[in-house]
Symmetry: C2
Subunit: 413 residues, 2 copies
């Protein structure tokens, strides 16, 4: 891909950014787990807050929270979202009358707001590598393989030019080997497959203890991982694992603001880029909804460790262009949409009169946007031929916000 930015009469036009990882409902708790509840506070205490919100979600609040989030995504420059959806059942664990009801709430939110969606219903079966059963707090998440395949089939029947469906394993902790194998065997060979992997050192340690091998190593030793796979986080890698992912054509999905918020650690970006690896970004827990914050802090994390500047180069000498290129290209392989459908059709325009873009040229406008843009500068967003955002505002902004406010009242009262 050459420089994807062109100057039109109205602004700087570039492809909309694919958001490759989202748990929509978590937007409702953004900023609410930033206090120390015990001295060894960690990812696992954050997870307790998340479980509390997951327990309270209804199809209605799920739809309202997701629609508000998707409005914010579109206004920030994302054009599509991969929704990693694991809250399936009623709070006591029984399926809804329609077992797809929670997933359908997300589809409805996408249709109301016009964002492209790759829906990834999640297979979640056990509470750890040792195969322990789900806890009460995980009751809404569980499926057996047959139930999961029926859900997937039901949702795949809804696919249209703005909706694709992919398969999704929550993590190696949550899906036994045999269940992964049966699921993959039952699916068409071109379906995207997403999985959380190697996000926390505890997961790596558990994998070593139970399976005698690291998560990414085990995955590549056990399955034929190819370009339809999205490995979410993949934070803790050996050099060998880094090379295997790059060689396989899989996409690593990096979520820098969430990974920083959760204290996960830093992905070996430089080695991975040097090996030619594919990657993209996701806003994950939505502690921030901004592709530029994801991209610049992906780079900044690397700078702070390396104590050097300008780490992510390769596509060009410009770090902004190299980061944008990665974020755009990675999505093509794991969203189920073609490059024609997304990179050629969905676009955003940046306001050339935004202070940070005054005097910009085609050579530096991406660097300026990614590195100095902390006020909104996305003026227009067009997805699948529809203009969804004009003058920086989504066309349904007020109605969506009104529903969101009601949903937050319901969730927090």
């Amino acid at each position: 891909m050459d420089n994807p930015v062109t100057r039109t009469d109205s602004g700087w036009r570039l492809p909309a950014i694919p958001n490759l990882h989202s748990h929509a409902f978590q937007r409702a708790m953004a900023g609410m787990a930033e206090r120390r509840t015990d001295p060894a506070d960690s990812f696992w205490t954050w997870r307790e807050t998340m479980y509390r919100f997951a327990e309270r979600m209804t199809p209605d609040t799920m739809r309202a929270v997701a629609a508000q989030l998707y409005v914010e995504m579109l206004e920030a420059g994302y054009g599509s979202v991969c929704e990693f959806q694991y809250v399936h059942h009623q709070p006591d664990g029984r399926p809804y009358d329609d077992p797809a009801e929670m997933s359908l709430a997300l589809v409805e939110a996408a249709r109301d707001t016009g964002i492209r969606m790759t829906l990834l219903p999640v297979l979640y079966m056990s509470g750890g590598f040792d195969g322990r059963p789900l806890t009460d707090r995980q009751a809404r998440f569980g499926h057996d393989v047959d139930g999961y395949l029926r859900l997937l089939e039901r949702l795949r029947a809804l696919e249209d030019n703005q909706l694709r469906v992919g398969a999704c394993f929550h993590s190696l902790r949550a899906v036994p080997e045999e269940a992964m194998r049966l699921t993959l065997q039952a699916l068409p060979a071109d379906l995207p497959v997403h999985i959380h992997i190697a996000e926390q050192t505890a997961e790596v340690e558990d994998s070593l203890a139970v399976r005698g091998t690291r998560p990414v190593q085990w995955l590549y030793d056990t399955f034929d991982v190819d370009a339809r796979w999205a490995l979410v986080h993949a934070t803790h890698l050996t050099a060998e694992e880094t090379g295997r992912i790059a060689a396989s054509g899989a996409t690593v999905v990096l979520c820098p603001t969430t990974e920083a918020n959760l204290g996960d650690g830093l992905f070996p970006l430089q080695a991975y880029l040097e090996a030619g690896g594919r990657w993209g970004i996701g806003s994950d827990s939505h502690i921030s909804v901004s592709p530029v914050e994801e991209l610049r802090w992906l780079e900044y994390g690397q700078r702070l460790i390396a104590r050097r500047r300008n780490i992510a180069v390769g596509h060009s000498e410009s770090v902004g262009e190299t980061l944008l290129h990665g974020a755009l290209e990675g999505g093509v392989h794991v969203t189920g949409f073609s490059a024609q459908e997304t990179l050629q059709t969905d676009w955003i325009e940046l306001d050339p009169q935004a202070p940070v873009l005054v005097g910009a040229t085609a050579d530096d406008v991406v660097d300026r946007w990614v590195f100095s843009g902390n006020q909104p500068v996305v003026e227009t967003v067009c997805v699948d031929g529809e203009t969804l955002v004009s003058a920086g505002r989504h066309r349904n902004r007020e109605a969506v916000f009104s529903d969101y406010r009601q949903a937050i009242n319901d969730l927090t009262r």
Copy 2:
């Protein structure tokens, strides 16, 4: 200070944030040094870009760039700025007819926009610890001690309720010991003193090589460093240095977005907080103009290294409140303004209808703002009794931007 946030009829009110470190002219180059020009790219190549912009600045462009920056600061929630001003002379190094001309351009920008200013004219004498003379590219920065004291005296005569003047040493590299001593002896004992220190490992290594001791260690061994001192960056510290700063009552000025952009490294925040140290924030190179981006990435940098969450606690269990408390209290000691003048008088209000603040309570509104606020949520800003920002927009926004656009044309043509 108790919880500084109150709910008024119109929003969440809290003190305006002091911005303790600014080189205003660098805003004009934000995002323009994010490309690799040589394989060992580092701070020192960024500095070349900065020198190119410093060479081109005139009093007019300085005023216009600073005014635009101050509008953006106010709209983002800052109420005051410490301006670390080192571009003093004409491009060939000769003083202007009025040697204070460049500093006066900054004062004018502050008065045009209403931001409180602590003007810190910088003493800059040599190009390294070995006392080498300034290069041609540094010709605009230099003074001898007498000339510097005259400049300081001239500017101090302008002080009023929105302007204070402090002393400022560029760095230990740039000011010999004897010049520091003479300057300090000539000054009133209550004047703030700011200095860049220990930002880069190269500075620590040079100090060890020439003086046999580390920069902070040397400063504390040589001068009586007290609560009027602002140590900017102080990134690379031993445990002993961390303890000495905390015990002295000096304020460490942290600039997380700039320190990340420059690949400086990470300040030992947790140890410093545990020792009771004072600190505040600055936007420095203005690669970002957002107090919430500074505060959350100060915390996130620590999380990424420690692989734990919620590091900055102490003032309360809430990380947001602890960070806000630090950012507000540190400024009181090094801006030359009293707490009455700033924390009691200057305030901002956050929009309670911003999506990220819907359902907020006094207990979580600061966490939500600091951690999930990436759209502007500052509705009103009032400094010294004047309402400068209403409905999120500065009252002179259009006129200031028009001048800025002209200045950028002049600087980049």
